[in-house]
Symmetry: D4
Subunit: 249 residues, 8 copies
């Protein structure tokens, strides 16, 4: 998995510094050597080329704080998503520092300004005000991953003139995140206006036959625009990660 | 149910021409008196103000021909929907005359030109060529019910410029039928462009997560445009009936 | 989108008062020029021919009050739907005036009596007392949109004599809104009694296999009456808008 | 399970004619002693008080013929349901005799006229002509089980006058079977007209949002009439068995 | 609808005491003449042959008390189902008297002992203790409708010996109500043991893939026992009504 | 059902100590003779070879305590699952003793250390920390049933190196329980690594398109590894019982 | 993955016979070295301890024959499942030898009699004759994997006496496979009778609300018997593999 | 929409060569001027930066040939997807030339070798041989859009060693398409191995609880790997378009 580390081990075997059996043992243990906190994968930043992101939903403040501490002790940044306001305060008491963005429900431990490393702009487009929390999460995560982000809100498909008014901004993005609940038509319309990949995020906004985002999800998967791919309902975080990887080099 | 007929019976009772018991008997039988073909409701044209429409799906040519004959003997027109080409020929052999429209799968017994009685124009708008059979059915039925119809095709939401190019036509309609499969976003976009009622028809066009029209159906029911109501999947016929009733007076 | 405004701009170009590039710029910006509150579309009343309706669900009292203020400063009326009692009080404190209808969950800023502009009567028919909140919403919205409305309650299909007793009222309406939960059979039965468009509203009333309105929704979409179209579950507001547009001219 | 047979065995034990171990053995074997055709339960007529009914769907003509033969050799009648025309001929070739009712898809081996043993009349009511095969199955099975049956067809809820015209017949039945596809509203309306148990049978008639009978099934289960119970989609046979058991004594 | 009343009117027409138009008017109004409380149908006891049952779910104590009062003023009994303890106390304060059965969630206004009018016994059989509330509701309603009821609990199919131990009781019932959640297999097993109609009631007991009673509902509809019909999830009340109607005469 | 008890009865009949009718009576009553608490099946430990397990969900502390007391008076152990902390305290007040494991939500009345009777080791493997409660339940139940258990956590399929690091532990188990939410891929991957039966437990961990465990459930049922079978969502208890039965002899 | 092979490579490195880079290369390639048919995993028999099983569904006879040939050239047996009669003949023409079992749809290349290596008996129990193909598949696969198998058919839960008559056979099995369609209640009933693991197989037998096996699947997952685990619909093959692994030592 | 064309029109207005009203007219018509084949959008190649792709499913050979001809007369290439062998021959007779790839069901009119314009490699990874048609479609479309593609097959998650053997190839791709049916776990596992965007394609491969790709679809949307986005079931074409847009610059 790590050719250099493996080659080093094999060189040690050749040199007689390590017996084959010892080498065998080391191979299996390799990713966890010298880690006191086994669950925290301090090497991911290297492997994935992005900071460790902690999915906060379903974790206690205690668990989150412990993971953050491990990461910081390893000299890394930490980005916690889906963390409500009260939980964030609790984490920050246990592990001081950290910058909480309530609108995005994101807690950040790292430099105030992250250097822009993404090649172009990520446009985060959303249909209604009720979709804003998801859009904010996508925006915050994408920024912390080193991208220039443009947030465009309230451009639902039943008011086309608003969407057309921002078409220049849409076209100048390297990659777009289109967020919508209800009928979820925004990604199709946006996808037809640009020649770039569009990440569609269905939201649970709506009632009745929206079925908690199912209508938007099925609509986006069935999109007549072929440059659209889809992530889970309300998954602004995942959309930001995918968009960020697209925006590299 | 038929006040005139009832009043006539009551007058006959008053005049002594009919005993109360005989009247009682007649009341219960009323809608079916003197009809050899019990299943054919020759009075609907009067009651509903529109010609009898025969839903052909699941009926044999024999059954269809028999119903048509009954209606014509009663001096009425007959409009048969969802009848495939071979079945239509079979019906026409049994009951000569009739004008078959293969694209709409509609068989018509009546005058070549139906007088326009609708107040305005019905616009039938459809997203893709695969939705055409449903659009044709809607168009044919609406015309035979006495409406001026404008058919606008291939204006999917992923190619907005096509849709915007026909916005004048959309705005000049009294009522619109918007037909789409896949994500079914057309009614929302059309609904945002006009101040008229929009009848949405989801179609079974699509594959995979379209689930035979479910994605379009849920999307249309969840539409962010408030002037949209919905009929069953592929139900061009029903949309035409509703639009025709709206277009009266 | 606004031919007159566009023509004026083009005249200015011809007259040399505006360069082509300036005109180009203005075209894209057009619907938002001079609007301090970008999200509020003060022109919709003109475009759609009906007052702005604010969907209250998921909006804070603060957001609602701000939108209402913008509309009123623009000299318009405002109709807020799906606003619970406590939220309505909060809005009314921030933006005094306003008339709250608790049964309909509707908050109105405008004249006490709206002039009747609809051509005929809208009949709002509902099956059970549990469906009343949806019926009240439909009634309140339809009235505020300038229609004469007749509300007919407690006419479920398992007690046909009640429904037949009001058949005269049903027949004299220009358009009908039929509201029912559980098996949702009311629109089919009503649809068979009248020759007018029927807007069916499934409600979430019921339990078990009603699945929160799904049974009623599927039943209404599958209706054997061809003059029925359907809106979302519990969507009394949408039904009223569609009925109102039908009732115009 | 069979107290008399068990008592006889116990008496034999007391008399010393049978050892306890032999008795034990016999108890376990009891229902199958001396039966060459293990799968045919020739005792059901006694236990259930009705002739053996063979569900033909998914059985080969060979299998059906073999079961029929076993039953007849045991001196019993045999009623085979869901058997298509070609399969019936095949069965009749292998096992001569038998009376095939194509409309009901039912094959009968027994007396031409079954004596009426049911206490009252079973009314089989159905909404549309497409529901007829299910109605015919219910009718044929109920007759062969010894009931007086009245078949009432084409009384859909969108044409109430037809249904009201037969309300006397509905009210005079001991038990009713109400069969409908699409929105499946018939049982609710019929249930409201009578004070008798109504067995509802959803059919797979319909298209689109009918989902092969799901809309009718959910509607019937959610019926606002409390005297309605439901059997499986298209299950005319089961409805007839339940109705027949109700109609006894 | 009421032949005698109609005949009387017709006689009056013949006698000249009533004009045809007046008669026409009266016909439509007939069921509601002189009723101050339109929503309460005080004639149902006569029409349906059973006391009025008020479905309490979703009604306020105020509404329930008002309906109860109307019924009692009309000299009738009243049975309210699905009423929680607090609501029952509230109703009883507004309308004194009444006997509340907390286990069954049923409130009764009527004689302490209802005369047994049913022909045989209704057996209410249930699988687990968690199904008891539904069984109690079925039992209480059936008793108040004048039936002898035998309640048999805790006889799940995974402990057959318990079920077999009560088989004599099962076989001596005129009609059975079988209640089960989870896999809902009880009605099939019970149905195979008796030659009587079995009303199956799926319950929402279970978790995960039980999907709130869906697993039991589908299983019961698919039952391999042909003497089983099904009512809605948790609908002990409906099962009791159906069983009671079966148990008459 | 109990050959020895039956044989004894039959001997008594032969000896004349018991009449056939008395024997008949006893046979039906057999499993409940002399039991004051009918619902508690004190013989299951013998029949099933494992201690009685009480499913706590939906039972009151009173009911649980009563069952526990009955079991203990019969000299048996008792294992209560799905019992929350507060309920456990309540039970323990009513029935002192008992050892509560909060992480597993399991309450145990029996010896501190259960003797290991299982032949090999049961490996309980789980994907994420959110799946831990289910894993803990499986572990606790399996231990109390007399098995050696190895718990392996945080080995999700998106971090293969962690899973590969424990492959030796996986391979040395006699049977494995693989627990995962979201896409539920762990059992497939584990199943491919071992030649032992794998019991898959989908969990309700996840959001949006996970649909409360449906995604994991369907994925596990569709597993491309043929040594996988599945239990209900979150059913750690059931998995432990199955694994324990596999691990015997 | 293969410690011995890895150790050998490491010894070669130590001995200087292999450079570290060559070793690195070999590690990645290891499982496929010298295999002309990359897709065929000739080592699985060793890894999994059972012969290679080829899932025939969706493979052409050509593909199947090619895989079989590869396996046989490697000196292994081959078991092909889900292969229809015509396809089997085609495969056998291309790769002579092989024994086709039409009832089980299984094609076997190997010794006529497979040595019994399983510790006990696998009981394959099935509810109806329509479930037989699935039962036959389970039986054939289990036999070819070296197990003693007892097939018990036609023991549906609506005819308990048949099931009870075979309870001795059920109890003497080491592991049971219970197969049923429709309500899928057999595994619950069987599970209650034995103290062994029960593998439940839902079948697609049934119609209407059976939804192609969904009713049986949900029922089995919700089983009130805790010794039941479930495999995919109609997956007799998977059940046999799981049962066979349980039956080993 | 096309600033240059609009500016030219505005210049003409300024120059007096065009009246404002004429300009207004031209604006609305702009995208279709001078196009005889209205449905074919010959400008998309420019707008989207990729050749026109014709979705063949549901189009007649006649329609396809006509669209191809229009595109070629406009000097463009044409790529037709989802076209079966017979239909492709028919199209090629009507419009000679064209290169049909049967495995991918793709018909290509253009240069034999498309110049590589993509920045890196697109890896198309698929789980089983049954997924190959979808993989081939993705590969063919991606190649024709100017990308270097590496196809990696038969690397299902139940045989991890195969997948690990190709991990180098996975890591060297710029973007990956991961295709799988059944439990659809491949994208999660691949996503964990690379730091690149992964486009997941669920396939309809599987049976029973796979529900035609639903299990894979839900699993992929719920993936625990955050670099995964999803397209429609079997949508190899869409995945290729998205991957190609990512791979640009």
């Amino acid at each position: 998995m790590n050719p250099d580390r493996m080659r080093a081990l094999l060189e040690a075997v050749r040199a007689g510094d390590l017996s084959p059996d010892e080498a065998l043992e080391r191979f299996a243990q390799l990713p966890f050597v010298a880690s006191e906190h086994a669950r925290v994968d301090t090497h991911r930043a290297l492997r994935q080329g992005m900071p460790e992101i902690v999915f906060g939903l379903g974790k206690t403040p205690q668990q989150i704080a412990s993971i953050v501490r491990t990461l910081r002790e390893a000299g890394q940044t930490a980005l916690v998503t889906r963390v409500e306001s009260a939980a964030a305060s609790d984490v920050q008491e246990r592990e001081p520092g950290g910058d909480y963005d309530a609108a995005a429900r994101v807690l950040w431990y790292g430099p105030n300004e992250v250097a822009i490393t993404g090649a172009g702009t990520i446009a985060v487009v959303c249909a209604g005000t009720a979709d804003l929390p998801v859009a904010r999460e996508a925006e915050a995560v994408a920024r912390r991953l080193g991208n220039k982000v443009e947030l465009i809100v309230d451009v639902g498909v039943a008011g086309l003139h608003r969407l057309l008014a921002v078409s220049q901004a849409l076209r100048s993005a390297r990659v777009l995140i289109a967020i919508a609940g209800m009928e979820g038509a925004l990604p199709s319309v946006v996808g037809g206006l640009v020649a770039r990949p569009v990440i569609a995020v269905p939201t649970s906004v709506g009632y009745g036959a929206s079925y908690g985002g199912l209508s938007a999800l099925l609509g986006m998967l069935s999109s007549c625009a072929s440059n659209v791919s889809v992530v889970n309902i309300d998954n602004g975080f995942g959309a930001a990660v995918v968009a960020s990887l697209i925006n590299r080099s």
